[in-house]
Symmetry: none
Amino acid sequence: MSTAKTKGPGHILVVDDDREICTLIGKFLKKRDYRVTLVGNGHEMRRALGEWSIDLVILDLMLPGEDGLQLCRDLRARSTIPIIMLTVMSEETDRIIGLEMGADDYLAKPFNPRELLARIKAVLRRVKTNADATSQTRPRTLYFSGWRLEIGRRQFFSPNGLLVDLSGGEFDLLVVFAEHPQQVLTREQLLDLTHGRSQGAFDRSIDMQISRLRRKIEISHSAPELIMTVRGGGYSFTSNVSQHEPSDP
Amino acid sequence: MSTAKTKGPGHILVVDDDREICTLIGKFLKKRDYRVTLVGNGHEMRRALGEWSIDLVILDLMLPGEDGLQLCRDLRARSTIPIIMLTVMSEETDRIIGLEMGADDYLAKPFNPRELLARIKAVLRRVKTNADATSQTRPRTLYFSGWRLEIGRRQFFSPNGLLVDLSGGEFDLLVVFAEHPQQVLTREQLLDLTHGRSQGAFDRSIDMQISRLRRKIEISHSAPELIMTVRGGGYSFTSNVSQHEPSDP
DNA sequence: CCGCGACGGTTACACTATGTTACCAAAAAG
DNA sequence: CTTTTTGGTAACATAGTGTAACCGTCGCGG
């Protein structure tokens, strides 16, 4: 998997086993200031979706040993992320388009990059237009080590039930950690998942946020228990995160 | 202009000066239970749009004496109605520009009717998916954190049942928040949803409205609980909004 | 065991976004 | 037409966040 470090109008995940097409799309979109992540199969796709903040998926229908249609349905079943399918130009195309697999748009290979861009923009435009009314918000609350994190109302409570005063950025960071427990997150991932932005070489802003966050949630100042540093790797949230309130001990 | 009065999956407006193509499309779609209206130029198109409830427009880019691209752009500027363009096979540029102008798909002439049908279905399906979420009728009374917001009557009651005196703009803003709970709304969105206008770069009027609204509905003046600011993002209404009066505590 | 280099934690500071007060113009009320 | 209310702009106060710099610590090789 390769990830380009570009800020811009969105982060696009390209799922295609064809190196050449990947490179082509990647270069083209990067030039247009999109952030691009390239993967070659369904497994990598799922991983990338967990690791990055993806705005749109471009999915090849023909992946070796996999069913693109099924991938698309799975994806749609679990999220509302926009999908553009790449299909082979043939008579089959029409039938595929007719299938209700839930993609937002389709494009036959070989294609003109400008057309891809136009369709990307169109899909993102439609999504944006509908973003207002669409959002069905479930009250998501996460629990860990006695703490309670209410994501929807952006509030965080300590084990003794007191509201903890976190700044917006600190809260976002904590949410990302709680949603990715027990795995190492690089600074770049953290930056992407919190701000949707990519980092320059010497960006230490995440370190600062970590430091400030720790000051407010770590009991022991010298031995962090919730957010552990992984030297050379990033940070890892060590606690067990549950979606339900633990039974009182 | 000729209109076929058939009930069915949708009402399609075909804009093409070529009699033969019109007839072809018309017959084909009518056979599939679509309602079809055929017109030959931009003027008739606008009239038809005013007279009927059109679900989708099929627009020929090559109309005598008119610019199909311009028509497409005008259409898109005024509504979100789905558009499928008909283009000449050789003019790839036109197709792309069309997509950039806001068309939802295109089809090169000459085309296979089945292909047209597939694309019509695909486009309508996309729109329908979106529309479902959009078109729920909004309840006129909302409850949150003990407060009661009667949208129709434009009255707002505090937890102790007293009428709160809000100005018109403050009320509008509160309604927007209550209808989009637990999600971050940018200043631009707020301005658009309240006044239907877009903002200049340094517009702080929303900040003022927020400040004034907070003064009237926030208990703690220093730590807002209902309207939380998201630095760099906008504001978020944190409360759980219910359509029904909560059971008495 | 010591020293070096890289990495990460922290402090200080600059900058930017936001909150708020004061003031004024436009709109509504009378 | 006068009074009142509302909403917007300007200006200042304040909190949040990124950058730079300094230092401590960890790993590693000598």
